[in-house]
């Protein structure tokens, strides 16, 4: 890299990380001040871990993300397989368009639109509040589905179809051929899709905001509530923890990635050598 490139990269990353670093530092501040560092303390962390509501919302967020991931990955993989097998092109393009809608539409519209349906249906059945765990789950599954589908579909299209034919040729029924050959082939796409679904669900605020009721708060909604009122460094403690969890996940992801690519290189070498 040229020096000018290095300087530019430095500036950009300073911009990207400055707020996070400020946050990190002040989470250990004894005083409540967010601009003057008085002395080091774990005070805000202790306070955070004594905050029942926040802990509850963390649990909720994880439960929701796991459920949404499980449902959207299963349904999305099946859907991708279905779209792949559809013969008519116009049929395919309808599915492509509809699947694209939640990705392109602003979150606020996706959230509002689903909320309207839930409220309408709730009123139809005479319920006082129509937003609950199930509505937010439906919403999360809905916005995760396209990401799963668009991760799995290319893997199916790249797959050598004669693998499936070979399996059938060698005695598999079409259904068994799917589980024994197709599924292992597209597994990387399914896993990437599931990871994306999981992180999107963890992180979502806007759609959750419109589709969740009072009885089920996720962490982002809790954060929203906390930042609406007075500012406390407890938030910073929370952000710091989220930051390190994120870092750990990304690092893990990178290690797996590197291992895979190294293996791929080794195999390529073997082919050349053999």
């Amino acid at each position: 890299m040229k020096l000018s490139s290095k300087i530019y990269t430095g500036i950009i990353f300073a911009f990207l990380f400055a707020p996070i670093i400020v946050l990190l530092i002040f989470s250990f501040n004894e005083a409540k001040s967010l601009s003057v560092f008085s002395s080091f303390s774990f005070k805000w962390y202790t306070e955070l871990f004594n905050d029942r509501d926040t802990l509850e919302s963390v649990k909720n967020t994880v439960v929701l993300a796991l459920s949404a991931t499980a449902i959207s990955t299963t349904m999305g993989t099946a859907a991708a397989f279905g779209i792949y097998r559809v013969r008519r092109n116009w049929y395919k393009s309808i599915f492509n368009t509809v699947t694209n809608i939640p990705m392109i539409n602003p979150d606020i519209i996706t959230g509002i639109s689903m909320m309207l349906v839930f409220v309408f249906v709730g009123r139809l059945f005479g319920m006082a509040t129509s937003l609950n765990f199930w509505t937010i789950l439906i919403a999360h599954v809905t916005f995760c589905l396209p990401y799963v589908i668009f991760q799995v579909l290319p893997k199916l299209q790249q797959m050598d179809y004669s693998l499936v034919e070979a399996a059938q040729d060698l005695g598999c029924t079409p259904v068994r051929a799917f589980f024994k050959v197709t599924l292992p082939e597209i597994m990387p796409g399914i896993i990437t899709g599931a990871i994306m679904a999981f992180t999107l669900s963890l992180d979502d605020f806007v759609i959750s905001y419109f589709t969740s009721g009072n009885d089920f708060q996720t962490l982002p909604i809790r954060i929203y509530g906390m930042t609406k009122k007075t500012v406390t460094p407890k938030m910073y403690a929370l952000a710091t923890i989220i930051f390190f969890v994120t870092m750990a996940l990304l690092l893990l992801n990178n290690i797996i990635d590197n291992k895979e690519s190294r293996e791929l290189k080794r195999k390529k070498k073997e082919i050349k050598g053999g």
Partner: protein, 289 residues
Amino acid sequence: MNKHKKGGAFLPLAPYSLWSVLFIVVPLIFVAYYAFTDEAFRFTTENITRFFTATSNIQAEDGTMQEVRTYLVIFGRSLKLAVISTFICLLMGYPMAYIMARAKERTQKILVTLIMIPMWMNFLIRTYAWMTILQDTGIINNILGFFGIQPIHIIGTETAVIIGMVYDYFPYMILPIYSIMAKMDTKLLEAARDLGCNSFGVLRRVIFPLSLPGVISGITMVLIPSISTFYISQKLGNGKFFLIGDAIEGQYIANNLHFAAAIAFILMVILLVCMGVVKYFTSKTYGGE
């Protein structure tokens, strides 16, 4: 030649078909339905008209009161801030993407991961961090004060809102441009040099045209969330710069669902038209892809 026997699509596709109709298509129809009905679900265009005609008084810079079209002003402001933010993101992000794409493979991976880290932090927290930084008694002013410089007032200005938007959506601009540039065949660049282009010529005549699809998807990925955002303006603009997203949220909180739907509907139509225009021009540039 390879026309494989297909079919057997019905069963795996059935759950998703049902799901997408119920929770993607029907909700969009409901937005229109609510937008064009009143509390008793009778047809009305009042909500739409209200968006274009509702007025309020604001204080102009010279201190006199002025009557303005409330929602048109809000929408205009949203559009202005979003366009400025998108443009800044592009200006800052394009060179970064270019530098990343030209770096060694290992460096590229590390840089991409680093860019993604702030993305993985919740945007509420990111915005909130800026709020504390930009406060009148915040870090920036502390540092300025340390050097004996007069404090500057940023929080509660349009600048603060723009900083927040740029910060929140910046990675969405870099990543699509980077991924297109990284895939670009370096032989093309060598060929261009071979044919007499200097560095700037290569950039202008080869790299930029080829990276255009990435630029366009970057622009849409930044423009759409920043035009429809709420929260950022509430926190960094001290609530003084109501944006279209805040308007929708406000009506939602006030349980004014029909008018909230009307604003959402209008926003959706405008975005649809914008994207249609963008698509038309890109397909013209790329020979109808």
